[in-house]
Symmetry: C2
Subunit: 326 residues, 2 copies
């Protein structure tokens, strides 16, 4: 059985391929601005061939959170499937460079490592065309007491429900977590993903999930509300810890009727908003696993999110915690 | 035989792996700040394992120039060796995305695609540890009338002399060029490279090379002078066109006793100086292949170099020429 860690993430292991595009490009491929579309390998080759010069970097929402959590100094482990190809090596290298304990070997056969074609518009918005590749072969057999062990908290990615054995393997992860007294958290990924899996998420939230990380749109989609105020009314009867980010409106944390409202830090110039929520979650969970108050968790989360939007890329920078004053 | 183009580049085809490091890291691996060291595959794995999270992007000095030249709107072709692996696909994709005509198929066997571990210090200086991989298998058989054809100008990279068949294949490229009335240019790569191959470069400069692109340090190394002023005295007897860049001191162009001195553009904030010389060469050659005066060539070169140092990465941005006022 693996060493106990504070955080274990289970998610799609993805390398981002980033390029700037004009609005015509998005129209041409029929992608709504800001959307994430799942594509097959043939379409991935088509999209890539149409894209301009690109930059490659490790990505994936919960993988960003795990990397950030480890970079803050937290002990972290990761379960996600890559192939033994060069993109897989890049992904694993980057996770290991922060000291993350990689719990699955790269697959020696099957689909190539996943990549997300990240199309950056002139205004900095991102539209993603994602080929899941090896991620889709993450299997229930990969989730067991050896790989999950007994972390303080596991973080499941909403996108995992998109892959064939995703719902079953998340159930198994939650079952193992409950056996070991591990806290179960989930990050809701995006509102379209919530639309695809609303019933499964709601069932999980009402049973095994302890902490829900979501942005305003995802909460509105999950509870099928028209406003965020109505979301706050809907969650009154739940005993989960809800951690809800609202971009420039800050974040709202609700637990058992108590509410923490955390303002956003003023930012003169947003360079790239990608990964803000992932970094927030990293900071929040780092404070949470160090037994800080919810208000302190929200402040560190905000600090990390603010850092990420002032640079290109979704992963928080080295040595960030040394500049944190609480 | 391939379509005629304005520029054909022959060089090492390299993907850059960039990460920030502290000075201890450079000491630990014994790399002088700002140097480029050639390493073998085992050492490449060691260095990579020691590096933090990285970003991957296509690089290579003359490849940057060819990409920039094509991105300005020039017709360009490229000869360089990659393997049929994922890094090779990235390299070729990025060249093709600018319309560059790739003249060699990726190798289906042999060493993996080259990568340069680019270690960025706190002050923005770059130290490179380069594994040449597939580049070393570029062979004289790859250089023939079909692949070289009859471009207006070929640009040879100094680094190519580092690979086993490099000197011979450059000789063959120059021979074909001379047969077809193609202008031969060379980019001297770096001063250590000049030290390694001084005699071969000098012989080429005195025979087949028409245009020499070099920075101040490379010219000082080539002519074994102590100052740039003495370099200017040394080249009086040569009939080559010398295009010499001097960072913030601008550039100096000398041909048959005529001298053009071009000042650098003022830049408030240098983000990343990598690729400034490569971009300068792209702009210079674009103007040159459009029959502009040497003064105009120097101005467009400066404009392109200035653009590149105000962004991260070595390749000039899209649509740059539309903002050029001459």
């Amino acid at each position: 059985m693996s060493e106990p860690v504070h955080l274990l993430g289970i998610s799609n292991a993805i390398v981002d391929i980033l390029a700037h595009v004009d609005d015509d490009f998005l129209q041409q491929i029929g992608a709504p601005l800001g959307s994430m579309t799942l594509i097959d390998e043939a379409r991935a080759h088509e999209i890539y061939a149409m894209m301009g010069q690109a930059t490659e970097m490790s990505g994936g929402s919960v993988a960003n959170t795990v990397a950030g959590f480890a970079n803050l100094g937290g002990s972290a482990a990761y379960i996600g499937k890559v192939r033994d190809d060069q993109l897989g090596s890049i992904f694993e290298h980057d996770m290991r460079s922060f000291g993350v304990d990689i719990r699955l070997e790269p697959a020696s056969s099957g689909s190539p490592t996943a990549r997300s074609h990240v199309l950056i518009s002139a205004d900095g918005q991102r539209t993603m065309q994602t080929y899941l590749g090896a991620c889709t072969e993450l299997a229930i057999a990969d989730i067991n007491i050896d790989t999950v062990a007994a972390p303080r908290v596991i973080l499941l990615e909403g996108y995992v429900w998109d892959i064939p054995e995703g719902p079953a393997l998340c159930d198994e992860a939650m079952r193992i977590a409950k056996t070991n007294g591990t806290t179960v958290s989930i990050s809701l990924s995006d509102s379209f993903c919530v639309d695809r899996h609303r019933d499964a998420y709601m069932q999980a939230v009402q049973s095994d999930v302890d902490i829900v990380f979501a942005d305003e749109d995802e909460m509105i989609a999950l509870f099928q509300c028209d406003t965020f105020d109505n979301v706050l009314k809907e969650i009154v009867g739940f005993d989960n810890l809800f951690v809800m980010t609202r971009s420039e409106k800050g974040s709202v944390i609700v637990k058992d009727g108590d509410t923490v409202v955390q303002a956003a830090d003023p930012v003169a110039n947003v360079i790239d908003s990608t990964g803000a929520g992932d970094a927030y979650t990293a900071g929040f969970l780092y404070a949470w696993t160090h037994d800080k108050s919810l208000a302190e968790c929200a402040r560190l989360g905000t600090f990390c999110g603010t850092n990420v939007i002032q640079q290109v890329g979704a992963r928080i920078e080295d040595g960030l915690l040394s500049r944190y004053s609480g």
